[in-house]
Symmetry: C2
Subunit: 404 residues, 2 copies
Amino acid sequence: MARIVMKFGGTSVADLDRIRNVAARVKAQIALGDEVAVVVSAMAGTTNQLVAWCQSLSPLHDAREYDVVVSTGEQVTAGLTAIALQAIGVEARSFCGWQIPVSTDGQHGKARINAIDGADLSRRMGQGQVVVVAGFQGIGPDERVTTLGRGGSDTSAVALAAALNADRCDIYTDVDGIYTTDPRIVPNARKLARITYEEMLELASVGAKVLQTRSVELAMKERVRVQVLSSFSDEPGTMVVDEDEVLEQEIVAGIAYSRDEAKITVRKVPDKPGIAAAIFVPLAEANINVDMIVQNVAEDGTTDMTFTVGKGDFPRAMAVLEAARAHIGYAEISADQNVAKLSVVGVGMRSHAGVAGTMFHTLAARGINIQVISTSEIKVSVLVAAEYTELAVRALHTAYQLDA
Amino acid sequence: MARIVMKFGGTSVADLDRIRNVAARVKAQIALGDEVAVVVSAMAGTTNQLVAWCQSLSPLHDAREYDVVVSTGEQVTAGLTAIALQAIGVEARSFCGWQIPVSTDGQHGKARINAIDGADLSRRMGQGQVVVVAGFQGIGPDERVTTLGRGGSDTSAVALAAALNADRCDIYTDVDGIYTTDPRIVPNARKLARITYEEMLELASVGAKVLQTRSVELAMKERVRVQVLSSFSDEPGTMVVDEDEVLEQEIVAGIAYSRDEAKITVRKVPDKPGIAAAIFVPLAEANINVDMIVQNVAEDGTTDMTFTVGKGDFPRAMAVLEAARAHIGYAEISADQNVAKLSVVGVGMRSHAGVAGTMFHTLAARGINIQVISTSEIKVSVLVAAEYTELAVRALHTAYQLDA
């Protein structure tokens, strides 16, 4: 007997037939003798509709009222799922965030979970009841409804699994696991049986949008074993686990890409201490996240600073730099939004040399120019012209012997 | 300065433009120096959709989960209305039933309000904040969400007005008041400036579906002055008030009709004590409401009992009577669903004779046969063949000098 949290995303509960399918899956899990808590998202499309209404009434709407509106999507699914479970003879009861409670901080619209009281849920599960929890929502210190930000139901599920000491948190979605890269670009990409938290974090943050980043961070912190799998097939999915659980570690787990970055180069700034701060502090104060950074020193005592920001932040970043022109003292700014970031990720590269070299060599052999490089302990990322994205991903996938 | 509860029904908040219209109306009320609490229904169509989902998943669904699902409609409108108010500079905050709290009994799906804690709302209104309350919902003794049954937002509004000691409860709807009869049948029906609670109750229960009956009962009990008016015009509506407030009482306030009744005649039952109980107790036990009753005694020691039930209960009523045949000892049952109930309502008839006579005379002059008669202190109702409905309503409207 195990204790399992089963989380179903928006496409898995998109209509009544799919909610019946969810109920059947939960019943099958119960039939194995397991205790089950279910976490549900809003029916696909619902949250977008609710968000659009709030935006339309007021672009600068009160985040507390936004939370009142958008949290209803998950409440509807929780009630309907409980009804669907009862209809096939499974004892079930729904819970809203405020009923458990799922206590969050007061950052409405992007709240963080502080604590989940699992005592009552635990007791009910021990008595054979399936508890169905509305994901994405909680209650703030002001006793008002909060939401966790887009994709927050993954975080709800992982946090609930931690609070319930669950053996596993199964995230049901519309893909059947984590692949070595995007199968739309590389048809012979392989599904991974296992991946470490660290690798998943790097893959999630560079564009493989299967799991919300915060949910992976939380799973790593709380050591929650997460499985990503499809609600439309019976195949086993991908386990996201601690490094210790992965015995034969591949050097490279996967190749990720992101077309969501824009490159900015600040040219001919005085090469003196404090110049990086002059550029990046104003950006940070404007809440703009800077990703890759590279600095080239010229011989005339000036330097060029190149970095990337998210495309959504690009116009604001340019405005901030324009406003700080006198303070920074640069000659000109150039920018390029037609770029893509390619990342090779794997915990095995800690103990294996040559991973970066293989990347540079493979891209050079295809005539692909590398504009910026950044590395972490388990990742090498490069910025290239966006038009090369598919070619580069396929070449790297083959070079690291990831093809099925 | 007055304290006003403004309640907006589903058609008044059917889309974002209408919610903006609601906000503008509230702002205009505030501009008069009034304190305002707003009660909102779900956007038109929303509740039907949510109910249909529950029904589709399980016709015998858990009413507690049904409440979780259907209560979300009003929550969405409450949040959106608060945003729309803030967008035009009106300080506003939404409240769900559980937050106030609106305490109800535990009859999920058709709960009754036990108490509303108005202290916090009162304080906020005193500080100039508009409180926007999700109608139709409360919280039960089990700390779960309850709903009040269809049309329950009217009851929410009246109960809130009582809890807040409001000067008036304005019910905004898609008609601009209470008419002397249905204007679709009698184009020169008149809008009433005032009507008493008692008259409104009789009119509501016989088919003029403007206000939920329970809300009128509650208004009468708590002496809440209710105004029915349109959210689409600036005309004053109809005030529903205590009899003392109506100085020059018309004898007849209005003519109502209902095609929602079916007539059942149980023939040749023994004319002895206890026979009415033998017929009506089984119906009551099956939760079937019996409306008009008439008994004819024949000379052979038997009697015919004729009565009406709602059309929705008709098949069950017939089954109950069939099952009790031996116990009742009747010869046969006949039934007719092609009937209509016509009612003449007015508190003035307490002190004026001849109201019933005018009705019988008017119908007889048109060759309309009266099948059943029932009377109360302020109402005379007759059952006639349904095909005469419009003819009879028009004739009575003229006979009682109600034409505009």
